[in-house]
Symmetry: C2
Subunit: 162 residues, 2 copies
């Protein structure tokens, strides 16, 4: 195992990473200038805004966005201080903390969104046809689901060595 990637795979990997890096940087700036938030904070708010009751447990909120508990606690602290979320105990599990987005949080997301969408369209979707979009969406959805199914690396710091 561990054979070399095909050249085509390597090119694809590099194109993907560079593109998303540039896109990430662009949206980071947009979110910061339009809404005084980091992109991570914006993503957390966006997730809450889309959640069933506009609330999620800390762990659920972190998924795919933040990779350490303490990092999330820190960001949640900032968002709470800014009045964009509230934190309270969960009725189902006394250990869990339920995070809820406030109206101010929803407003903030609404303020950021139009410009955000504009940046994403200009940078990412502009050069793509409808067909391209469908292909990209299909592939990346599959990749994301595959990654979600993967054992979390954060919790599995290679033990076995043989």
């Amino acid at each position: 195992m561990a054979e070399a990637l095909e050249p085509e795979q390597l090119d694809t990997y590099f194109a993907l990473m560079e593109s998303v890096s540039v896109l990430h940087h662009a949206v980071e700036q947009q979110v910061r200038s339009a809404g005084e938030l980091s992109y991570v904070q914006f993503q957390l708010l966006a997730r809450l805004a889309d959640a069933p009751d506009r609330q999620l447990t800390m762990t659920a909120l972190a998924d795919g966005v933040v990779y350490s508990r303490s990092g999330l606690t820190h960001q949640a602290g900032l968002l709470e201080k800014a009045g964009l979320i509230t934190r309270g105990p969960s009725p189902d599990d006394q250990r869990a903390t339920l995070v809820t987005i406030t109206q101010a949080g929803l407003d903030r997301v609404a303020t950021i969104l139009p410009g955000h969408i504009e940046v994403v369209r200009d940078l990412l979707f502009d050069p793509l046809s409808t067909k391209d979009l469908a292909a990209l969406g299909d592939v990346m959805t599959r990749v994301r689901d595959h990654m979600r199914a993967q054992p979390p690396r954060s919790a599995a710091p290679r033990k076995r060595r043989t």
Copy 2:
């Protein structure tokens, strides 16, 4: 203008960002544990290893990887201190600094690469067919070229307003 993204676009955007975020985190860890480098540093070395004479000017090196001059100077300083690159004056342009990767730098990249490739394969390419790979490569190459052609946001902090 600035109409809402189609739902399909939004889903695609989110899947893309989450996937690459997870991938980024995984390769970051791999590069750090296998080669004692940050991912940014690894990318810089990898670019130099692939460059025509194994050397690039600071500005060319930064493209798509680092978004501020000072950030690159800092990272280059660390890489030079570690003996992985050297910096010298450019014969073509007295203002420019030519960065060259050393043999130790090439060795370091070679040390990191196998494990790196393994992570990328497991996380990104595993769930993709040959056809998917071709589609992804085609689309992301096009996106990257589009972004490269874009006026650099860093240097164009929106002036016009009307």
